[in-house]
Amino acid sequence: MIRRVLAFFHKRPLDAEFDAELATHIEMATEDNIRAGMPPAEARRQAMLKLGGVEPAKELHRETRGLPALDSVLQDLRYAARTLRKDAAFTAFAILIVGLGIGASSTVFSVVNALLLRPLPFADAGRLAWIANSEAAGLSGQTTQVGHFNDLRQQNHSFTDIAAYFAFYGIGDAKLTGSGEPERLTAVPVSGNFFPLLGIQPTLGRNFNDDECKWNGPKAVLLSHGLWERRFNSDPSIVGRALTIDEKPYTVAGVMPASFDFGSVFAPGLHVDLYMPFPLTQETNRWGNTLAIVGRLKPGVTAAAAQAEIRVLAPQFLEAHRDRNNFVGFVKPLADHVSGRIRTGVLVLAGAVVVVMLIVCANLSNLLLARTASRQKEIAVRTALGAGRGRIARQLLTESLLLSLCGATLGLVLAILGTRALSHLEAISIPLLRDVRTDGTALGFIVLMAIATGLVFGVGPAIQSGAGVLHDALKDSSRGSTDSRSRHWVRGALVVSEVAFACVLLVGAGLLIRSFLRVMDVDLGFHPESAAAVRIDPGPSYKTKPQINGYFDEAIRRVRSVPGVVAAGITDALPLGRNRTWGVGAQGVQYERGKYPSAYVRVVWDGYLNAMGIPLRAGRDFNERDTPDADPVIIINETMAKNLFPGQNAVGKYVEFKPAKRVIGVVGDVRHLALEQGSGNEMYIPLRQTGDWSSADLVVRSTLPPSALAATVREALRTLQPDLPGNDFRPLQTLVDKAVSPRRFVVLLLAGFACFALILASLGIYGVISYSVGQRAQEIGIRMALGASAGQLQRRIVMQTLGLAAIGMSIGAVGSWLLARAMGSLLYGVTAADPTTFVAMVALLTFVAAIAGYLPARRASRADPMLALRSA
């Protein structure tokens, strides 16, 4: 066997050697024959005869010594490469569309793999669970009070451990000063066991120790790998250094590994720079619902079992501590929590690429059919020379596989570029996007796709190749021979399926685009354009309420005096970001247990409503007279006014607080959670009257461009805030953009696929029609000679095209409707059977089909009938 393999690879020298051996043989035999009395020519001829011919002897020799099967595969490959090179245009086109198709599907596969298939990037991630408080939207609904967490941690038997992070961290909450430019960083407070539970070890230094996790313990931070690289030049001696954060000294406990990205898993689109210990104590218990909980299930315990246990424990906790907030407890696998929201979108994309690949296959199948038809004679000649039907089919399959493999190579390049682009997308709230890459699995997927594609689009033509009767093929010239009925049928079916698939994609993309437009059209309740926000929290030197109020008064006064600033205000929670709810009811109303209303809270400074463009419907805005000593006041939104004071004028009424607050104004609703949903009850509390806020965002509405605004505002605040970080000016539009980013992501990809599908389908139609017109050149010539006008002919051909397209679209419409229902949760403001979309897409397809049919029709009808007849 080894010798055979060697022989296989040393074909040329071995061939030469055998040539020499044969030459000697023939010379010797010839001499013998001459000696026996033959004339020299005859002697040589006889020698050859006896040998059984030189070529067969060589062939036999080669077969015996090498690996005949492999030989013939190589032969097929060489032959395929030769024929493909001869038809460069066809080959380039085929490779291009296979490449695009495989590139797209592999990229989407990588997304599916990262988001839905691969385990989360944690140790034994399958056992990690997410424990939400309730099913209510908003962070306050998802999070749990510290007391409940501690009790659950001690008393449960389902988890090896549970850990938590503080869910109300804010973007840019931590201000880093000293050594270099001041900078606002995002810090996430976590429980001491959070990283050990996930199985994450700091690459440098250590995790937080017990002392650091105590209330008022020594202050420590863990740096994210990104911050360590960017801000500290990957300084290996960073551990133990003191940093000034919010003007307090923190010790660097360690640096997290580059592979750990909190944002990518828990807060998509967010860069987290620092981690701080979050004390689980009486003090933090008083903060209310704060913790997002992650648990590690014991081996063999399911999320459902853990859920059942928590449902038993939770009422006991509540019974024992009546002062605590409600706790229900919903357990689900962490992976479901992380990718749950984007799941439908990703699956729709996966379905879309399958459809795209089917169109690619149909298209190539069609092209190859046309080629095999025109190669009928070549095939017949080969058959006549002794090639078996299987051998020919194998040859054709080799060709299609070679094509698809070349396409896959292109696809691989595209997939690598595509995944790299996706993983570097910033500020897109899709989880795990960072982990999207073309890895070994994706590579395997590409190889499988290439083989499957090659087989799918190659098998039809390969089968067809044998179907033609040899005799007929050899006999028939191009003259008047119309295609065999079956081949015609196959080609028609392929076009129909292409149109149907394209229709599905177009309608799906159309519905999503319309949803997207609807979402972008939504009345946000505020005007993001030409407004920007910047954090201006007062430093720790401002301690008392009057000092703080004085600081804000001065800051606002200065900013408002900047030329070009139209309005300015302050809030502790910008829309589409952090949110919290408080229970609040109308004064004097008894609510049923569990029916007590809650509302989203925003603590604001006077002028905020104006700066945001939130319309005042009734009453007045806060002003400088709403001091701590004045009447406690509140502004509520229209929904809350309707819910708490149905049928009454809310202004002047009181809501339950300690002490009760008087409603002084009613404002329009704001899309606070997401663009797609109203947020229900919302209330605004004057910052002057409360200390219950954790951050202060200055919102500035201005006619200046954001860059100029940043400089002038910083200048205006210089004496108040000498180290106002420069990295922090956020146009409000970016908040909106980030909120719609997952939707935009899905829409853009799907629209791209749909365009690709439309192009392929139109090329498919064009190819089939021009082929059939070419085949019928004579028939057309005769018709024209008999007096048919060009217009009549064109109509005939276009009608034939539209007939095919109509069948395809009817099938496609049904498919689209099914698809649209499957992606119902992605639709917004349109129904799955949205008539506008369906009609528009059918019209578009019809138009494209008509053009694809008209072009070849026009060419045919312009041909000189005499030429067409004579060429026969």
């Binding site: 051996e21 010797m28 036999l60």
Partner: protein, 112 residues
């Protein structure tokens, strides 16, 4: 493997044994010589397609039963000389034994 347009149908594998026996009896020989020798010994009863000799030689060589070496022929032509190896002799012995037994059996069958 090869087509027989010969007076006697060669059974599969027969040619290999003939080549081995020829080499064992005659010593090193080139391909043409082997072919001629087989034709002579058979009294021209088998009309050999000489091309098949070379396939047989490759086969035997692959199995390690014969060796090949380039040399010069009687009238100074470059030719490839084949010779039987030790393993080849062993193989030939066992083949010969088999053939003898088979032909005995055949003879007895026809004698009854």
């Amino acid at each position: 493997m090869w087509q027989n347009h010969m007076k006697l149908d060669l059974l599969q594998g027969t040619l290999d044994v003939m080549v081995l026996q020829t080499l064992a009896a005659m010593g090193a020989m080139h391909g043409y010589g082997i072919a001629r020798r087989i034709e002579q010994v058979s009294g021209d009863q088998v009309l050999l397609n000489q091309g098949t000799i070379y396939a047989s030689l490759v086969r035997l060589q692959n199995r390690g039963w014969i060796d090949a070496e380039w040399g010069a022929s009687d009238n100074n032509r470059k030719a490839k000389y084949y010779s039987i190896t030790r393993a080849g002799r062993k193989e030939l012995a066992s083949e010969a034994d088999q053939w003898n037994r088979l032909s005995d059996v055949m003879a007895r069958m026809f004698a009854q």
